[in-house]
């Protein structure tokens, strides 16, 4: 219980401290302190195999544990990078930025712990609000426009999720008043008595609402704008952390549907939205000229894969959990490197960037490796997880889904290669004077670690991670 | 037999009082003394004693217009209850009522077109445009009332579910009264839809159509307009407050004071509001229509 409280309160307290600090140089180190403390507490959870809880609302379960660990690891990576990044951006005050990042960490941790649908909603809405100032870090008209779209679309989406939550409560209390409504552990045993029409309505609204947050097509429209205009660091946290939190919300919903025996209703919708997201991502990837927006569509694609895995069930669900971890790590490499490239070349247009490998050897190499990883090529972890999902689909005999899945992956590979390869290789432009900062230790070290992690996951999955992922997948009918 | 026609008789005799009272109210708000309450009676008498002038380009339609519209309004008034009872009532008479009002309007419009003046044609076009919004609203109101009272005759529809006294449906009936009030303002060319006092060519609607009529024809038109106003106000009165069952004197008093009250409300609205710009009028009527639609959705549930 103490651990849990510390996990939630440390970022908030440090946010207060960072508000009080006057120096823009020293303030970013608060991020590292928070991240290290958070990560060590989470590591302690793994070592001692503890399952802390406060009451029944906040408690850790296998699914929450995986998401929490991912949040903690990615935030640690982001915080180290953030110090290097913010030191280069001293022309902008970073007080709001650092404080919002810390609140973001706290809110996402609440999501991971939350066992109550109402609390889950409050925490997810809080993540939206905490991340809006992050998008607006650059304070120009384009980032402002992106912030407005993000805020409006996500707020509307999350509002629909609130309506869905209310529907769920109605489904639960339909037969008469119940103890502790909307509480997941209490709801699962009595799921059989939920009112089916209201459950279906709740499912649709929650799927649309949290799907908006996750960036599933056709609710993904905020994503290219937000990821394109935000600093690479923020894009990384949104695409790695926030989407995983939204995925966790969908997992909670699936738990209820499964307990109520309504998976036949849920599966086709998951599969439909999953394939649609992949298809939309593939189409928009082909004509893309902006490499940050390209990454946004890549995120739409991977969210589609996760949802597809959830819908297919069985082996594919295990694959989806593995994929969530891989995607988070690989997105870190890509977004952070895209941030470096953006700062150096001062353009987001892919056709104006050439020879990254010459100018920024580390960033160029990592960006290329990240591209190979994210498109699901061996030997990286995403190959394993995408292959697991494919095996799940083949095992179920869904040949149409298999064809669509492989087709989208192939198109996306080609689309991304068309953008990334000319950027990394080729002759760098000659206007050396116009170029920005070079690689530094802080801005390349953590992506290197992330990439190493993705590589390791492709070759060998440690047994403790495997057990944890399996336990998380088993909550929603997954198996290996 | 004779008592049957008392409601109609009251309507025919008292109708010119309504515009008089509205004008008195407006004058009081403007701090003027205003024309006497019975001014319209004097006007009608004066006009009836005059001769009419007819343009050589007009045909019989122009002469028939005022007579037909007055006649249709009087017949329509047969169906409207006065103090709780109507002169004539049968199931389905709402259709007859609505189309008699429509017939009157049709002939007024025809007569205006018959003059061949582009000016009057413009008024006719406006009149018909606004009627396009007002008539559906009236019908939707009838649907709601038919649904609420289970009756298809105007007098029982209006008297069985008054707003005061039916608390279970107060919200629904408030919608009905509100949209009927807007329709009443629109049908009778009152502010904010039309200004009966203006003679500014760009803004007139109803007034412009009758510019070429004179003498007894104009008297018929003015008298018909006042009956129409009386009839609509009487409908509102029955919808708002239940008529007591007791003696005719008692219900007559209640009815009379209600009529005066609603008339004064119209006067207040006219004093407080400015005439809407022409393009905004359809939006007001549309809003009334949508509110009535909303009421219909509630009542059909």
């Amino acid at each position: 219980m103490t651990i849990l409280l510390l996990l939630l309160l440390i970022p908030v307290v440090l946010a207060g401290v960072s508000l009080a600090i006057r120096s823009d140089v020293w303030r970013p180190w608060m991020l590292v302190i928070a991240a290290v403390l958070h990560a060590s507490l989470v590591a302690n959870l793994w070592v001692s195999d503890a399952w802390p809880s406060i009451g029944t609302w906040l408690s850790l379960d296998p699914a929450g544990k995986v998401v929490l660990s991912l949040i903690s690891a990615l935030f640690l990576a982001a915080s180290v990078y953030a110090v290097g990044y913010l030191h280069r951006r001293l022309e902008r005050p970073n007080r709001t930025f650092v404080t919002s990042l810390l609140f973001f960490l706290s809110a996402t941790s609440v999501v991971a712990f939350s066992q109550h649908f109402g609390l889950l909603w409050v925490a997810l809405e809080a993540t939206t609000l905490a991340s809006a100032p992050l998008l607006y870090f650059n304070h120009n008209s384009r980032s402002l426009e992106a912030t407005w779209k993000y805020l409006l679309i996500c707020s509307v989406g999350i509002a629909l999720a609130l309506l869905g939550t209310f529907f769920l409560a109605v489904a639960e209390t339909f037969q008469g008043p119940v103890e502790s409504a909307l509480l997941l552990p209490a709801m699962l045993p009595r799921a059989g008595s939920l009112s089916v029409p209201w459950l279906h309505a709740a499912f649709i609204f929650l799927l649309v609402g949290y799907g908006t947050k996750m960036g599933l097509a056709p609710m993904h429209t905020w994503k290219p704008d937000a990821y394109g205009e935000a600093p690479g660091l923020v894009g990384f946290l949104l695409s790695g952390v926030l989407t995983s939190c939204a995925f966790l919300a969908l997992v909670r919903l699936t738990q209820v549907c499964q307990a109520a025996g309504q998976m036949d209703f849920a599966r086709p919708l998951f599969i439909l939205l999953g394939l649609l997201s992949m298809g939309v991502a593939a189409v928009f990837m082909l004509g893309q000229t902006d490499y940050k927006r390209m990454l946004a569509y890549s995120s739409v694609e991977h969210m589609g894969i996760l949802t597809l895995g959830l819908g297919l069930g069985g082996l594919a669900t295990y694959g989806a959990w593995l994929h969530m971890v891989n995607n988070g790590l690989a997105k870190g490499v890509l977004f952070l490197m895209a941030g470096n490239i953006h700062r150096h070349y001062r353009t987001k247009t892919a056709s104006e960037v050439h020879g990254v490998l010459h100018r920024l050897p580390w960033s160029g190499a990592l960006f290329m490796a990240g591209f190979i990883a994210i498109t699901g090529s061996p030997p990286f972890g995403l190959f394993m997880s995408e292959f697991t999902i494919l095996r799940g689909a083949i095992g179920n005999g869904h040949w149409g889904i298999v064809a669509g899945y492989l087709g989208c992956l192939a198109v996306i590979f080609i689309g991304m290669a068309r953008i990334v390869v000319p950027m990394v290789f080729g002759e760098p432009p000659n206007d050396a004077a116009a170029s920005g900062p070079k690689d530094s230790f802080l801005t390349t070290f953590t992506p290197l670690v992330l990439l190493a992690a993705v590589l390791v996951l492709g070759l060998y999955i440690p047994s403790w991670l495997d057990r944890a992922l399996l336990a998380a997948a088993q909550l929603v009918g997954g198996l290996r | 037999m004779l008592t049957t026609f008392i409601p109609l008789g009251v309507t025919l005799v008292a109708a010119p009082l309504v515009p008089g009272l509205i004008n008195k109210t407006k004058a009081a708000f403007a701090g003027r003394q205003g024309p006497p309450l019975f001014q319209l009676y004097f006007d009608l008498l004066k006009l009836l004693n005059k001769g009419a002038v007819y343009s050589r380009v007009t045909t019989w339609i122009f002469r028939a217009g005022p007579i037909v519209s007055l006649a249709s309004v009087i017949v329509a008034a047969l169906f409207v209850p006065v103090a709780g009872t109507a002169s004539l009532s049968f199931s389905g008479d709402i259709i007859a009522f609505a189309y008699l009002l429509g017939l009157g309007r049709f002939f007024t419009v025809l007569a205006a077109l018959d003059t061949g003046s582009s000016f009057e044609g413009m008024g006719a076009s406006r009149e018909v445009t606004f009627a396009m919004f007002a008539e559906p609203t009236l019908f939707i109101i009838f649907v709601i009332l038919a649904r609420v009272t289970g009756s298809l005759s105007l007098s029982s529809m209006l008297t069985q579910a008054p707003l005061v006294g039916t608390p279970s449906m107060a919200g629904l009936l408030a919608l009905v009264v509100f949209s009927l009030f807007i329709v009443c303002l629109a049908e009778n060319s009152r502010i904010p839809v039309d200004d009966p006092a203006t003679h500014l060519e760009l803004t007139m609607i109803h007034e412009v159509m009758v510019l070429d009529h004179g003498g007894p024809d104009l008297a018929f038109i003015l008298y018909g307009a006042s009956i129409k106003l009386f009839v609509m106000v009487a409908m509102l009165a029955h919808l708002v407050f239940p008529m007591p069952d007791g003696s005719p004197v008692q219900s007559g008093l209640v009815f009379g004071s209600l009529m005066a009250l609603i008339t004064i409300v119209i006067g207040i609205v006219e004093s407080a509001m400015a005439r809407l710009r022409m393009v905004r009028v359809p939006r007001l009527l549309m809003a009334a229509c949508m509110i009535a639609c909303f009421g219909m959705i509630i009542s059909l549930r």
Binding site: V122, R142, L144, T173, G228 | A170, A287, M290
Partner: protein, 214 residues
Amino acid sequence: MEHVTQLLLILVILANLFVLGSHPLGACIRAVAFQGIALGLLPLSLHPEERSIHLFVIALGMVGLKGFVIPGLLFRAIRDAAIRKEQEPLIGFNTGLFLGAILVGLGFGIAGKLPLPPHTGSSMVVPVALSTVMMGLLVIVTRAKILSQALGYLILENGIYTFGLILAAGLPGLIEMGVLLDIFAGIFIMGTVIEHIHREFGSISAHKLVNLRE
């Protein structure tokens, strides 16, 4: 209390129709504030047998927040941005009104398909909530001024709140507080962004926000 509930719900819908059919932004904000007050009073008429502190606190908080604080924020935004009218909606006001009436019908239709939850208080709560949600979405997608879009979001939230009233007794107060806080913070941030947009673009018309598109 049934008819008081009905009357309040009708006022809620009328406020929606008003926003759909009129263009002075100030009047629209006032209509939404009015709607907020009607909604704030709704729990008292909906659960007349339950005169708990909880219920009164919700009612008071709602009237204060939705009726005064949030409209105040929006008024500040339009005063700073010196705008008064929604000039260029993507669809005309008459069409907007017409679509609004269709949505009301749709709301009643959908609610008719779902079984009525017990202890709803009035059979009109669910349809009114659903149609308010849909009308809020309609305002968001059809209005060009970003302030109107924020207003649409507020209407959407009001619709959801209306639905939530069915559960008022069953939901823990902490969650309600969280929801209220989130909504307030959301509107506050939106207001701030609106001010920034006005400063940056010299206008708060969404037509200006076209830098980012495929």
